[in-house]
Amino acid sequence: MSTLYERLGGEAAVDAAVDLFYRKVLVDERISQFFDTVDMDAQRAKQKAFLTFAFGGPSAYSGKDMRAAHRGMNLTQEHFDAVMENLGATLAELQVPAEWIAEAAGIAASVKADVLGH
């Protein structure tokens, strides 16, 4: 019984997904202001860490880390939904089965309260 991360293809899958995901959020006007930073390599590393986490991969991030990282950004449900939408679109583009996309979405959604500061 393999984990979602293994089924998706592990780190290689994250690498394939991260550039796709990053390009999508950069041009999504609902959320691009959060991702359009000058240090693109640092931003990409954050995306990679997020996707690793969402794919159920190895990550030492705690809810507290997520909360601290997003503090003061005034994030709304709309922002969260936009990110989730782009995550889904990225996985769909990589031809990941719908059930697995739902699984990844579930993991990502599990930190919603921390991300939105609720």
Partner: protein
């Protein structure tokens, strides 16, 4: 129980069995940045002595140019006896200024003879320090590693603290520190198309990479674009045209502002009266599989980096070297 000694910035730290570099340094209260501890976030990136054999795990996820220069993730790297890490600005070496040629009113080409090889790869930069007062400025290396002399392109900064002096310093000794920087030729990818685009003396690292590519028999396209607001700023234009005639795979484009004066000399047919950004956007739409090098004006470099990424270039393959001016004291 100590099983290995780690050297970090001239100090020795005793490491315990299967300790990682990060664990060892944190245990000794050395403030190494870290976050995920899982080899993903790259906060703990450090550099090992050039030539050190590093485990694959400790370099996973790092762009090839960082791997080539000995960078690794401290949280994924077990300490092995004698491992030396930290910043490698020291040791430095002396160099003599041997030749200076003015390429234009504003740019001096300076050739230095270092007392020993710095192991720099063409396109990287070195910090040049004037020994008398420690003033240091960064310049990119336009020459190849096996050239006897290091070639720098020194833009003259009005009332600058180092550039005017350096351009008049034949016979003087300077200290070199480094090398640093990401604009290195991808040794293992002879077929990849290369885009080398820059403004001003951003040409120096681009020229270094281009020379390296051509010398290695690069098979892919090598597109070199040098931009300037005025014609004077294309300070090496004739020489670049010579290179273009010699190497069929080199495509040269000169970009000048719409207000630049008329030009009917060598390579006039390769000159476009269009600023570098709109020129590139119109000329190249898809950059998937390309290696992209962007050097010079920080605003242009940052803007082009975003463009190149959205046009499909992998971020790992975008090598940006913004020439940030020295902060005034």
């Amino acid at each position: 129980m100590t099983v290995a000694t780690l050297r970090f910035q001239e100090q020795a730290f005793e490491a315990e069995e299967s300790e990682t570099v990060l664990e060892c340094l944190l245990r000794h209260d050395v403030a190494v940045p870290s976050s995920c501890r899982a080899g993903v976030c790259q906060s703990c990136m450090m550099q090992a002595e050039p030539g050190t054999a590093l485990p694959e795990r400790a370099q996973r996820g790092l762009r090839p140019s960082l791997r080539q220069t000995g960078h690794f993730l401290a949280c994924q790297c077990p300490v092995v006896e004698g491992l030396q890490v930290g910043s490698f600005e020291q040791p430095s070496c002396s160099a003599t200024v041997e030749v200076v040629r003015w390429a234009s009113e504003r740019v001096a080409r300076v050739w230095l003879r270092p007392e020993r090889g710095l192991g720099q790869l063409p396109g990287q930069f070195v910090n040049v320090v004037r020994p008398s007062d420690g003033t240091a400025r960064s310049y990119s290396v336009a020459s190849r590693s096996d050239d006897a002399l290091l070639e720098l392109h020194v833009a003259q900064v009005p009332d600058g603290k180092l550039s005017p002096w350096l351009a008049r310093a034949v016979g003087e000794t300077v200290t070199l520190r480094g090398p640093h920087g990401d604009c290195v030729y991808p040794e293992d990818d002879l077929d990849a198309p290369l885009l080398l685009a820059g403004t001003g003396t951003g040409l120096a690292p681009l020229l270094g990479v281009a020379r390296e590519a051509l010398a290695r028999g690069h098979r892919g396209r090598v597109v070199l674009v040098h931009g300037s607001l005025d014609l004077d700023g294309l300070y090496l234009w004739r020489e670049l045209c010579g290179l273009e005639r010699e190497y069929p795979q080199l495509e040269l484009i000169g970009s000048v502002g719409p207000d630049a004066g008329p030009y009917a000399g060598v390579g006039a047919e390769l000159l476009r009266r269009e600023l570098i950004e709109p020129l590139l956007r119109a000329e190249l739409k898809k950059l998937a599989g390309w290696h992209v090098y962007l050097c010079g004006s920080p605003a242009v470099v940052k803007s082009l980096k975003r463009w190149a990424f959205l046009a499909g270039a992998a971020l790992d393959h975008i090598h940006a070297d913004p020439f940030e001016p020295a902060a005034s004291v």
